[in-house]
Symmetry: C2
Subunit: 121 residues, 2 copies
């Protein structure tokens, strides 16, 4: 029997809820790009190569909702919107960078494993 009462360990489900926010579709890539400097909507869109407006909007909302990203409207014409990391967002930099570098390092290994798996009898 697993309980969370009186324990400092939260339930797996509640941790996974957090992980879900943080590892959702474009989150890692967006955070990585925002680490460099605050960026505007279309700058992110260009960098992310392949993301749709809708997906980018939704991802940024989710990150904003979780307190990782700040959305700042700059009242010029036409309107500019700049996204930047909060301190909480910055605290994810190291873990995300580790994930990102892992992905770069092991990309071809993973791709080969997948191809081999798919070619199985």
């Amino acid at each position: 029997m697993i309980t969370t009462q009186e324990r400092e360990l939260p339930s797996p489900a509640s941790i996974r809820a957090i992980l879900d926010q943080v590892t959702s579709k474009w989150s890692v890539m967006i955070l990585i790009f925002l680490c460099d400097k605050p960026q505007r909507f279309n700058a992110l869109k260009r960098n992310l190569d392949g993301i749709t407006q809708k997906a980018l909007t939704e991802s940024l909302r989710r990150l904003e909702r979780s307190g990782l990203v700040v959305r700042r409207v700059i009242p010029v014409s036409p309107v500019a919107v700049e996204y930047s990391l909060t301190p909480l967002g910055i605290s994810l930099k190291d873990p995300f960078l580790a994930l990102y570098q892992w992905s770069m390092k092991h990309r071809t290994t993973v791709e080969r494993a997948q191809a081999a798996f798919d070619a199985r009898p």
Copy 2:
């Protein structure tokens, strides 16, 4: 124009494909549990508290396909199946532990940020 030819940097899309495998729904939690020791299907299911058979099966398949997990059938009766990490899977331990610990540490902060966001006018 972005190309990947002759560059050591893969395209964002190809990196995200890898990240998707690795950060997909239950991956982090499964890998964390498998770090301790190889485990059987139902042991994982119990530990993961809330996962369905289908989701666990699919997650394990995905991890196996990407070369992170090995599935070993132990021919006893009734049949036992043990899942364990490959060296590649083990190499994810540190990044995932970092993510996991971040989630535990900042869980309440994130939850409060979400509640505040949702309560906005």
